[in-house]
């Protein structure tokens, strides 16, 4: 075999390994009831409850659209963030402190394959949630849209990459697995609250301006844009996507600089 065909074969082998990693990441996720309930279950339960209690009301400053249009998009964003930021962040801390990452590092599995498996699995779970929430919104509450499917796909995809990178970066900042769950969850829910997940923020308000610097708010507004029924409003939220990309890039830099394979106790 020539060197080139050998290296091509190696690339295909590695891509097959990525597929296997995604499969086992999926198994690990769905077989862990707490992770599955807190990630997927929460978004579904919140959407159903909010839709049942206030779904028919309208938001004046969003051109009087039904608030459920906003909540469907908001909880799609929540699903992506919970999967990629919360779940990836906490599970990487736990795996590192248990010694699982060290074991992987000492195996022939290339590190990029492991990270591609984590990211790919987060993408699969995110897409499944987006479709499930869309189905619930449409069948249960008469949600319309998305009016720009491509814009929604791009927003979700960039969101997955950005928040997975943020999850990885956050995992490098937390030294022990006992702290990982509480710390990530508290930060996550406070930022979601400030970012207008539970209620649409008045554009131009102080809270909207401040949370606009954060990617949490940006993913919510980017996901909402394709569901925004106001005349003349574009489904493309480029500004939000650029802000997420910048956060994602910063998270990659932090991750590369701070990443460690070994538990802190050794």
């Amino acid at each position: 075999m020539t060197t080139r065909s050998k290296s091509t074969a190696r690339v295909f082998d590695d891509l097959r390994l990525v597929g296997r990693q995604i499969y086992y990441e999926q198994l690990s996720f769905w077989l862990n009831p707490i992770a599955a309930v807190f990630t997927v279950g929460f978004s579904v339960v919140f959407l159903v409850l909010l839709g049942a209690t206030g779904g028919k009301s309208h938001v004046g400053f969003l051109g009087g659209i039904p608030v459920i249009q906003y909540y469907v998009a908001g909880f799609m964003a929540y699903g992506v963030m919970a999967t990629c930021f919360n779940n990836v962040g906490v599970s990487l801390v736990v795996r590192r402190e248990m010694g699982l990452l060290k074991r992987i590092r000492l195996s022939p599995l290339p590190p990029w394959v492991m990270l591609a498996g984590v990211t790919g699995s987060a993408l699969v779970i995110s897409v499944a949630q987006v479709l499930l929430l869309l189905l619930i919104g449409k069948l249960g509450y008469g949600v319309t849209g998305p009016y720009n499917v491509t814009a929604l796909v791009i927003a979700i995809f960039v969101g997955v990459i950005c928040f997975t990178a943020l999850g990885v970066a956050t995992s490098t900042l937390i030294p022990n697995q006992e702290a990982a769950g509480p710390v990530v969850s508290i930060v996550f829910f406070v930022l979601l609250f400030l970012s207008g997940l539970w209620y649409p923020l008045q554009p131009g308000s102080a809270l909207a301006r401040i949370s606009g610097y954060l990617p949490f708010r940006r993913l919510i507004t980017a996901t909402f844009a394709p569901f925004d029924t106001r005349r003349g409003v574009s489904g493309w939220a480029w500004h939000d996507i650029i802000v997420m990309a910048v956060w994602g890039a910063a998270a990659v830099i932090v991750s590369v600089r701070r990443w460690r394979w070994a538990p802190h106790r050794t």
Binding site: L17, R20, Y24, L27, S28, L31, N32, M98, G99, L100, K102, R103, R105, L106, S107, P108, L109, P110, W261, A262, P263, T266
Partner: protein, 311 residues
Amino acid sequence: MSATQAIVVEGLSKRYGHIEAVHDVTFEVNAGEIFALLGPNGAGKTTTIEILEGFRERDSGRISVLGYDPADRRTSRELRERLGVVLQELAVEPFLSVQQVLTRHAGYFSRPLPVNNVLEQVGLMDKAATRVKRLSGGQQRRLDLALGIIGNPELLILDEPTTGFDPSARRDAWDLIRKLTENGTTVLLTTHYMDEAEALASQVAIISGGRIVAQGTPESIGGRDRGACRIRFWLPPGTTATDLPVPVSEGAGDAVEITTDHEIEVLARLTAWALEHQVNVIGLTVERLTLEDVYLRLVGYEAGIAAGGET
């Protein structure tokens, strides 16, 4: 490195800030042998092993592991294809089944052993479908061992492999390790159990304060085969220590002890005296220094002259 040496370490040194974790460590491990690295916590065992695994970088020294420099990133994947590692910490995914964990890990290697064979070898065949979190501590440790050998390694590095095993599981693990070496696998092992080193290893090195303080076979290390002998027995009824033909030190109750380099002569005088006086020397034992005696002497001595850092 010749083909018969699996590991060559020459003048290995590593510092963490002001602490010298490993200093000028030199040893060789022949292919197919079991080599035990003994030492107290913080002696430099784990640092040495992690450098050999390519997990940590050395400050100086020459290292060859299966012909590779573990610090060379270009060949690290090739080296890891041929290397099996059992870590000190219990590192197993809790939610997957035993079979799933092993099958996933096997997929990282190009020539893994069949999963069922390995399950059989570590005695977990009947637990194949059990979730890892439902295994006992000892069973999880056996799964750890299974993960170390699933890649069909030429070199297996075992960092305290039987900690947490019950006595029968320990014997089974020893049998498995011996079987691996019969098939040509080289084993580098660290352990706190002297009986484990004695039962398994053909070569032993004792490390203390980051330095190798003794090296040799378990039978001869630290002059064990040439050093003093300990003779113990009970004072025969109706006699005192002063009646004996040789000087003794008295222990608890009627027990007495003689430490001597001339055990044949002492035993001859003692048995001749017993025959002459028609007395029975009850509980007579003759033993050389144990590996643990040698270990404690070497480690204790070294601890006095060199402060070991946390490694």
